[in-house]
């Protein structure tokens, strides 16, 4: 697969400083949401997808691996958490852990199967695996088929934070998102991230330097899948249901869209993209039958005019990496 982000700039101290500033601004803006009159529920939802997109971006933007099945981690973690909360009546923090663990196990299995395929074949095998999983979830009784697991209790986080209060829930989700985001940022800028980048740039060369590249890609896959699972677990508290839509291929497609719209291989792009797409779904919902047409037109315009994505274009304009 060709390198998608052909104008990635090497990270310099200046870039790191830029990123820190943008991160601080983002965190502050998000923290101010409950006071802004903006509807926090919408923001929470967007945060979950933003985390998912960031996790996905870790794999494609920095590992060069395009997964077409990332919804499977989102959905699996969602079902696991939902089941743990509703049926086992676990407290929220354990519910989240169960979800993450589910995604972790799944990413090990699917990663093991798929990681050796190249390019589009890798994408397709992840798609196929996620479709198999969809089938399993459709058949398995505990998911309640297309009705989904509904009315999941929100409970008290660590026994203290009452998650049924929107503001409390909002901050819990925000903290979760920021933690996930920082972890991803750290992974990208870690010794491991450096190797990953070199593999994406020129895998043959990395091998000849003695790197067992499959192992690095595998680790990246597992990290990405597990973090996507974290997003799925958080989402359960926000939506209070877990349904098949989260495992459907069109969800995997949506993640790709979010990342592309925001800017592939940029650190903040997926966040912007997730907010853009979720906002679009929310605000276009009132446009009646024209929703799909408008949505389609936006994609077309995106691809034809600002292909680097929102953040990518901005970064390119200022010659910064964001």
């Amino acid at each position: 697969m060709t390198v998608l982000t052909d104008d990635t700039l090497p990270a310099t101290p200046r870039a790191v400083r830029d990123e820190m500033i943008v991160f601080a601004v983002m965190a502050l803006l998000l923290a101010a949401v409950p006071f802004s009159g903006l509807y926090p529920f919408f923001v929470m939802q967007a945060l979950c997808f933003a985390l998912l997109a960031c996790a996905f971006n870790l794999l494609i933007g920095y590992g060069g691996l395009l997964s077409f099945g990332h919804a499977m981690f989102l959905g699996t973690a969602g079902y696991c958490s939902a089941h743990a909360l509703k049926v086992w009546a676990l407290p929220p923090e354990l519910g989240i852990l169960v979800g993450i663990a589910g995604a972790f196990v799944l990413s090990i299995v699917t990663g093991y199967i798929s990681i050796r395929r190249q390019g589009i074949y890798f994408s397709m095998i992840t798609l196929a695996l996620s479709q198999l999983l969809y089938f399993i979830y459709l058949q398995a009784p505990f998911t309640h088929g297309e009705d989904g697991i509904q009315g999941i209790p929100q409970g008290h986080m660590f026994g203290v934070f009452d998650l049924s209060k929107p503001t409390v829930l909002y901050y819990v989700v925000l903290v979760g998102f920021l933690a996930g985001f920082l972890l991803i940022y750290r992974i990208i800028n870690s010794p491991f991230g450096e190797v990953l980048k070199s593999i994406r740039e020129n895998e043959q060369r990395a091998i000849s330097l003695g790197y067992r590249t499959d192992q690095y890609k595998f680790l990246a896959f597992v990290l990405s899948g597990t973090l996507a699972g974290f997003a799925g677990a958080l989402k359960v508290f926000v939506a209070q249901n877990a349904s098949l839509t989260d495992v459907h291929w069109s969800m995997s497609g949506e993640v790709v869209l979010m990342t592309l719209v925001g800017g592939l291989g940029t650190i903040f792009g997926p966040v912007v993209g997730a907010f853009a797409i979720i906002a679009m779904q929310q605000y276009l919902a009132g446009f009646g039958q024209w929703v799909t047409v408008i949505q389609g037109s936006i994609f077309v315009i995106c691809v034809l005019t600002f292909r680097r994505g929102v953040v990518g274009e901005i970064a390119h304009y200022f010659r910064r990496s964001l």
């Binding site: 750290r186 800028n189 010794p191 991230g193 450096e194 980048k197 330097l209 003695g210």
Partner: protein, 251 residues
């Protein structure tokens, strides 16, 4: 004697659907020498390299490196044993700076490559060594230039620096001078000469003056087989070599 020869092959053969690209090649590379592999186009030189570094699986034959049989190893593991190659078409990490290119190689030996929870600033401890290496190949001024933006000849030099960073025992260089201007050729040749003090080098090269000046011993390959072996001066007198490789009017 494993000591004398760092790399040996026995009856190395590679067949592509009925076509023998390499056939029954027995090669011994003496430790500390510059050994050149020459031959007409399509003789199987690159294929040989690919076999030695495990990028291809041999159809038959055996490869011994430092006395150990590496015939069935994975490419990354061979590299880890200190047998490192460069590519016929220049291979760098294009969107990383020269410094980062070298650092990736240095990092591999230090075992922190899987640390995804640490800041990459831990890699800064390699910077000094990386700069040294860049300096060795004359790239100090390019340290912070992304590799894509470097001129062709400099990329080759960078590749060599990256290879050196692994502190290999033996380097395989595939046409290190291809596509270079005269200036660069001289620089790289000098560089190879210099590093050969420490490493064993097996190289493929078509530039005869380079081969003549650098190599201690030359193996001539044609049609996948060893045609002759010897010093440059001997080979230029060999009629078969003239016919197959050097061409009339040479020597």
């Amino acid at each position: 004697m494993a000591d004398e020869f760092i790399l040996e092959t026995e009856g190395l053969t590679k067949e592509f659907a009925g076509f023998f690209a390499v056939r029954d090649v027995t090669l011994k590379v003496r430790r500390g020498s510059i050994h050149a592999l020459i031959g007409p186009n399509g003789a199987g030189k690159t294929t040989c390299f690919n076999l030695l570094t495990k990028f291809l699986k041999p159809s038959a034959g055996k490869i011994l490196y430092k006395g150990q049989d590496i015939t069935a190893m994975a490419p990354a593991d061979v590299a880890r044993m200190g047998l490192v190659r460069s590519f016929q078409i220049s291979a760098v990490f294009p969107h990383m700076t020269a410094l980062e290119n070298v650092r990736v190689a240095l990092q591999r030996q230090q075992g922190s490559s899987f640390d995804f929870w640490r800041s990459k600033s831990v890699l800064n401890r390699f910077n000094e060594r990386a700069r040294e290496l860049l300096n060795d190949v004359g790239l100090s001024e390019f340290a912070n230039t992304p590799a894509v933006e470097m001129p062709y000849g400099r990329k080759r030099a960078l590749e060599i620096a990256t290879t050196l960073a692994l502190d290999p025992e033996m380097m395989l260089l595939d046409e290190p001078m291809a596509g270079m201007g005269h200036e660069d050729i001289d620089k790289i040749a000098a560089l190879i000469k210099r590093i050969s003090a420490k490493y064993t080098i097996l190289m493929v090269e078509h530039n005869l003056s380079v081969v003549a000046n650098l190599s201690d011993i030359i193996t001539v390959l044609t049609r996948g087989q060893v045609l002759a072996q010897g010093h440059y001066s001997e080979l230029t007198k060999d009629e078969r070599v003239k016919e197959a490789y050097l061409g009339a009017g040479h020597g």
